[in-house]
């Protein structure tokens, strides 16, 4: 039979996959990703036409890399000043627009702190892979800033966050239980990203970056749909990716929780006027605590002990469960995937139309070796699964524990972990602003308070 061109036959996943929310998010798209690796083949006509050599672009000039880093530092420092001293939402907004244009649309969302964590992980686990100074800096600098002054990176440097911030139109309030349970996901995603990077499987954060397709004006159809969906949802649920997906945000959150100087809603002392109460689109404002409840909460002591004791248990159960799911987790690795495919459907070895299989067949490797390699990778997943599972167990336990710890609070203040330092709430605070509508309309209330 004469064949003039090769047909694209996407690999199909054949696993008996149980599709749950988490595992759907982590594996199915990875398998879709396999189809992305297929290339548009050139026609196989025999003509005089000489197919030109493939050109590879040179790496970005070092100078430009340092420019990126310099701009990042500049943006973060400027934002720090705007947040802490100038207290201007308007200026923060303009700085963030600049970052969106530069880091997002001009630099195409790459270099990216969010993804850099994977490069770093891979370089730690794979000796043959090293990261440049800039990548390291992009990973560390925002975290250091978070440790010092909170998530200023999210406020005005991260293109992913900014694009969501700009589309906020009418944010709705989410119940705390929903926020907190969805808030588990970034940590799970973080753990998965580390596991996948450490095993050299894939950079899932980049693969499923919903906005990079918009920055680059082109991506796989489903990724564009995902990006647009996030933005549409983001009009009403502010920054959904930041709050419920972003794994780097999880790290920033931890750092920011311990930040030394953090944005405060009020420039001086909180007068408990409650005006800023509903001002945060991200529900990141903590309210003063109720004295009565405070007293009642002492009863929670035993719950605290219970949750504390739960930590090792959950870590063990999580480790056991996730390590047991190594088959599913590892099936995203191209070698494991191919080995599984060829063992279950040996006839595919004859299929020269599938580029992945053809590449494998022409590599001269035997199926036996491939299976051996795949088994080694599966072992890595089984081992790594213990850590991932223990981490997930720990996160769950700590989240529970956090719910029974009662901190006394007498003012309205930004939650250091959840606050993106966007500065919106500052505009609401009447303190030090005589022209504020609050004073205009209801002067008597000031007297009362």
């Amino acid at each position: 039979m004469v064949r003039l061109y090769k047909k694209h036959i996407p690999l199909k996943n054949h696993n008996n996959i149980f599709l749950g929310l988490i595992f759907l998010l982590m594996t199915v798209p990875t398998q879709i990703a396999h189809s992305q690796q297929q290339r548009f083949p050139k026609p196989e006509f025999q003509t005089e036409y000489q197919i030109p050599e493939t050109e590879r672009p040179n790496p970005r000039a070092p100078f430009m890399e340092y420019l990126d880093l310099f701009l990042l530092l500049a943006v973060l420092s400027l934002t720090t000043w705007l947040v802490l001293k100038k207290r201007s939402r308007k200026w923060i907004l303009w700085v963030s627009v600049f970052s969106l244009l530069y880091f997002g649309f001009y630099r195409n969302g790459c270099i990216c702190s969010v993804g850099s964590l994977q490069n770093l992980t891979l370089s730690l686990f794979n000796e043959g892979y090293s990261v440049s100074f800039t990548v390291l800096a992009f990973f560390v600098v925002p975290l250091l800033f978070a440790l010092a002054v909170g998530r200023v990176f999210c406020a005005s440097a991260c293109p992913l966050g900014i694009i969501q911030d700009l589309v906020i139109v009418k944010p709705i309030k989410l119940s705390p239980w929903l926020q907190k349970s969805l808030g588990l996901f970034p940590f799970i995603y973080l753990g998965l990203a580390v596991l996948y990077a450490a095993t050299g499987t894939d950079f899932i954060i980049c693969r499923f970056d919903p906005f990079v397709g918009i920055f680059r004006m082109g991506a796989e159809f489903h990724m564009i749909v995902l990006g647009i969906s996030f933005l549409l949802i983001g009009m009403f649920v502010a920054r959904p990716y930041c709050r419920f997906v972003c794994p780097y945000g999880a790290l920033l959150k931890i750092c920011s929780l311990n930040s030394k100087y953090h944005l405060s809603i009020t420039p001086k002392d909180c007068i408990n006027c409650k005006l800023c109460k509903d001002s945060c689109p991200f529900d990141a404002i903590d309210f003063p605590t109720d004295e009565k409840e405070n007293r009642a909460s002492r009863k929670d002591f035993w719950k605290f002990v219970f949750y504390a004791a739960l930590i090792p248990v959950l870590m063990f159960v999580g480790g056991w469960a996730v390590s047991g799911s190594y088959k599913l987790l590892s099936s995203a690795h191209p070698d494991v995937y191919l080995a599984n495919l060829l063992v279950s459907q040996p006839e595919l070895m004859q299929n020269t139309e599938n580029l992945d299989i053809e590449t494998f067949m022409s590599s001269g490797k035997t199926l036996e070796i491939l299976v051996e390699e795949a088994k080694i990778i599966q072992e890595k997943f089984r081992f790594g699964g213990w850590f991932l599972g223990a981490f997930i167990g720990l996160v769950i336990a700590l989240h529970l524990l956090n719910q029974v710890i009662f901190r006394k609070r007498s003012i309205y203040e930004a939650n250091r972990g959840d606050c993106f330092s966007c500065g919106r709430c500052m505009d609401y605070c009447p303190v030090g602003k005589p022209e504020h509508p609050f004073f205009k309309d209801k002067p008597e209330m000031v007297v009362k308070s």
Binding site: R3, Y5, K6, K7, H14, N15, N16, I17, F18, G20, F23, F40, V167, V169, K170, S175, P176, W177, K180, S181, L182, L184, M217, G218, M235, K274, L275, K277, D278, E293, L314, V317, A321, G324, S325, K327, L328, A339, N340, V343, S344, Q345, P346, E347, L348, M349, Q350, N351, L367, E368, V371, A374, Q378, I392, I396, L400, Q403, V404, Y428, P437
Partner: protein, 612 residues
């Protein structure tokens, strides 16, 4: 002062109005561009040059005339055109995306302006639930979510298949080159000795204890497989026996039985899923297939004991459709009969899946031929010879015949046919010392060279929806179909020898023996004709209609009616009914003969009939 306030107010309302108008326009624009983009995207999918039907058709045609420069030129032109169209569409999508981005930016900006202008500090909302309650609820939900994650992980551990675990390098040997060579050597091996071995196996095996013996024999000497005219004649390895010619070489067959009392029923076994195909046999193993909309299965039975040796679900085939094509109740997805080449059993299903298993149930290869467009369901059975697997693939979307390599499933040749969709099965007939593949469809009966796939002859002689397969005997090919005619064609000259239309079968195929043609019709008549002239010699009115095809064995004509009643006639020019035993179960498939036993697939059970 008052005036100024008023003016400002006006400005505000004006601005709000403007912002709203702009937002609406931008929204409509963005949505419009979005819809256009989506349409364009679908268009791209369609015009993707890699999946173009037109190109495929052209390439297909080129394969039948590989040297036609004109075709090559045409294909190049079409390919170029499609690529151009494709890239133009891509350009359009890109432009559209920029337009949409622009629209979206304007929309968001205007919306923001709109909302901020209308902005007023609201009266702070009152706390609804108490902090403590909130916290309790939160704990519960964190607990739920955490448990969900862990449960999902545990479930995935149980529900994910790990094929690597069961991987044994030996199993895959079938694909290695050395094995191919050893198969080549097989032809040189002395046939006699191995045949005797199989013979002894058959004789000694009648009890359950020895059932395993053939399996052992096969695994111990996997290379001594003989597939030649002699062994094929001994084995009922395809629909209507060896080469599909409706003749069996079996002897000592029982002529009486009774399904109700169990008389001469050696065993019967329930078939879990229904299917219309007939069993096939190789030595001690019997194969058949079943299908419903959710799964397709191949079964292998020990034909001595009726024990199920293995069953394999047919899945994970690349290109296999996720939803099964619609078929009618009386055809289903498992109408085509399997075939065996001594080493492998091959099965085809109504969704275009075709699969090869070795006789121990290890999958060797599988492909999907593309879903056949057939309003009843694909029903043409498989045939194998000379390491080729022949498939008559006559569908509404074009017809073709192809030969796949029995080793790899790769296409060896493929010839486009010009007829309508059909339901008949091919047969192999030795003409002038060489096997030909003969097929019937509307409108032609034709013969093909099995090495090259070239059409050798073709006679336009049939019409309607062709179900019955042809039969070869006495130098002539006989073809028939209800509401059309019965013809005898000389395959050497392509000339019609005679034609008649008195009795015509609808589903059941004719049989030939010693100068006589036998048919069984849907109107419950068995009829015999003189093969050389077409003269009707006798007719017999049965109880029920016939779907099952008559078979010739031991000089007798065997045929089952749909009620399960069998009619056994002496073969000859006079009607001599020997017996008409009842099976007690509906029958649509064709009987199979081996070593003094009759195997028949009923609607629910598989029966083995012999003298007990």
């Amino acid at each position: 002062m008052l005036n100024l306030d008023f003016e400002q107010q006006m400005n505000e309302t004006e601005k709000i109005k403007r912002a709203r108008q702009i937002a609406i326009i931008a929204g409509v624009f963005t949505a419009f561009v979005g819809v256009l983009l989506l349409l364009n995207y679908l268009q791209i999918k369609k015009s993707d040059p890699l999946n173009s039907l037109v190109l495929e058709k052209l390439v297909e045609r080129l394969s039948s005339e590989p040297n036609n420069q004109h075709f090559v030129e045409e294909i190049r032109q079409v390919d170029l055109l499609m690529r151009k169209a494709y890239f133009t569409s891509l350009w359009q999508v890109r432009t559209g995306a920029y337009l949409m981005l622009f629209g979206a930016i304007v929309l968001v900006l205007s919306l923001r302006v709109y909302y901020s202008l209308r902005f007023a500090i609201d009266q702070p909302s009152a706390d609804q639930i108490k902090e403590k309650k909130k916290r309790q609820l939160t704990q519960r939900w964190i607990g739920f979510s955490g448990a969900l994650v862990i449960i999902l992980a545990i479930m995935s551990a149980f529900f994910t298949m790990n094929h690597l675990k069961n991987y044994e390098p030996k199993k895959m040997l079938v694909h290695s080159k050395s094995d191919d060579e050893s198969i080549e050597k097989v032809e040189i091996v002395s046939i006699r000795t191995t045949e005797k071995e199989t013979d002894t196996v058959i004789i000694t095996e009648s009890t359950d204890v020895e059932v395993k013996q053939p399996e052992v024999a096969i695994t111990q000497q996997p290379k001594v497989v003989v597939f030649n005219e002699e062994t094929v004649k001994k084995n009922h390895n395809a629909f209507r026996g060896s080469w599909g010619n409706a003749v069996s070489s079996s002897t000592n067959l029982p002529t009486s039985w009774d399904g109700a009392t169990g008389k001469n029923i050696l065993w019967k076994t329930e078939l879990p899923i229904h299917g219309y195909n007939s069993p096939v046999i190789w030595n001690e193993k019997l194969f058949l297939s079943s299908a419903n909309t959710s799964k397709r299965v191949v079964y292998c039975y020990d034909r001595n004991s009726g024990k199920l040796l293995w069953e394999r679900e047919v899945n994970n085939i690349q290109g296999s459709p996720a939803t099964q094509p619609k078929t009618t109740e009386d055809t289903g997805l498992a109408a085509p009969t399997l075939t065996v080449d001594g080493e492998k059993a091959f099965a085809i299903f109504g969704n275009g899946d075709i699969i090869a298993f070795d006789l121990n149930g290890n999958r060797v290869w599988a492909i999907n031929l593309g879903v056949p467009d057939n309003h009843y369901g694909h029903s043409s059975s498989l045939l194998t010879w000379e390491k080729k697997l022949f498939i008559q693939y006559d569908t509404h979307k074009g017809s073709k015949v192809m030969a796949l390599s029995t080793e790899t499933g790769k296409t060896i040749w493929e010839t486009v046919r010009t007829n309508e969709v059909s339901w008949a099965s091919p047969i192999l007939a030795k003409i002038d010392g060489k096997f030909q593949l003969i097929m019937l469809a509307n409108p032609n009966l034709s013969g093909y060279d099995i090495t090259t796939g070239k059409q050798l002859w073709s006679v336009d002689c049939m019409s309607g929806e062709v179900g019955p397969s042809p039969v070869y005997g006495g130098g002539l090919v006989y073809a028939t179909n209800e509401y059309a005619r019965m013809v005898a064609v000389n395959p050497k000259t392509g000339e019609k020898v005679w034609e008649d239309n008195y009795y015509l079968p609808e589903v059941s195929s004719p049989a030939y023996h010693n100068g006589y043609i036998y048919i069984a019709t849907t109107f419950a008549v068995v009829a015999c004709f003189e093969a050389t002239t077409g003269k009707l010699l006798w007719e017999f009115e049965a109880k029920n209609s016939f779907y099952s095809s008559p078979m010739i064995a031991e000089g007798k004509v065997w045929v089952f009616d749909t009620g399960g009643k069998a009619y056994i006639f002496e073969s000859g020019g006079e009607s001599k009914l020997i017996s008409s035993p009842e099976l007690g179960e509906k029958v649509f498939s064709t009987p199979v003969f081996a070593d003094g036993r009759v195997y028949i697939r009923g609607i629910k059970h598989l029966f083995c009939i012999g003298v007990n």
